[in-house]
Amino acid sequence: MADIWPVYEGREPTRGGPWASMSLNDAIELFELQPKDRVADYIHTPRFGSSDRDLSILGFKHIVVEVPPNEERPPDWPAGFYRSPVSPTDAFNRILRATLSAVLGEANLVRVEHVASTDSRGRNTFKVTVILGPTARPRISGDLSLAAAGRIQKALSKMGVEGSPILQYATEDELIHDDQ
């Protein structure tokens, strides 16, 4: 499996674990990787920016995909670290969308958005909003909605998010029009 790392610039590129693990093929598609994006072999952890400074305060700057030697891969994809052209914020959304579309059905989703938040206990978390297609709502059962909540809880927990997320649904129409 390929690990998806959010990476800081500076001395300490990562903290905690990867955001997600997936097959190399899925990672290539989701994060728009190309063989030329390889920035380091598997032995050397890549660092970006000034390596003598702690720049984590600036937030994640890169998405790096770690491809281990034992991962099944085409010949032009040697093991190592690949830097994705996708921004960390976009990558986060893509992981959330991939997580949710596996349960809710890709055809039912228009997009997935997230905002940083705190849960009822003050722990850091995210509010995740699924924008549904105009005819999608009747195709989603209570059990699917339940499964989606569970998947998001697990995915964010794996990313090191401590708090409980809120998963919300809306259509484009509902986002535009006022209620009372």
Binding site: S120, S145, L146, Q153, S157, I166, Q168, D179
Partner: protein
Amino acid sequence: MTLLNPDHLIEQAEQLARPPANGAPRQADLRRAVSTTYYALFHAILVDVADQLAGRARRNSVEYSLAYRSVPHRQLANLCEELSKTTLGAKYRPFEPNGGFGADLLAVASALIDLQEKRHSADYDPLYRVTASDASLTVQAGRAALNHWRSVPRNRRRLFVLILTLL
């Protein structure tokens, strides 16, 4: 004594989440739908707690009322978060049944975490906006969670209540 019926709460939530005949849906209705859905699941669990601790035959007693009111929301959420982890904490591991707690109980745990957070926002956060789609899916998920709770084998529900109240 007639206990609060979780199915009636879900039905009430469904009515609140239903689009009005005229005009836009009201936040007051949609928020109450979300909150009521949480309470449907919460009360379903409390009935099991009190039935086990005080006895089903003693539903009219003050002991039953005491047992019913013995579970704080956070304590319940803590246990549900623990059950949802890939690996149980050391304190809980000795009580894990062979083959785990089962899909139904894990679905309930996940729902409880989700619904409790939503309930908190719906009741207290002035910036929280519930859409009709969200309210309706939340209620449906709550009904599904209630069905999962009732599908949990009796011995697993008993174990859940024991861990919840005694550990």
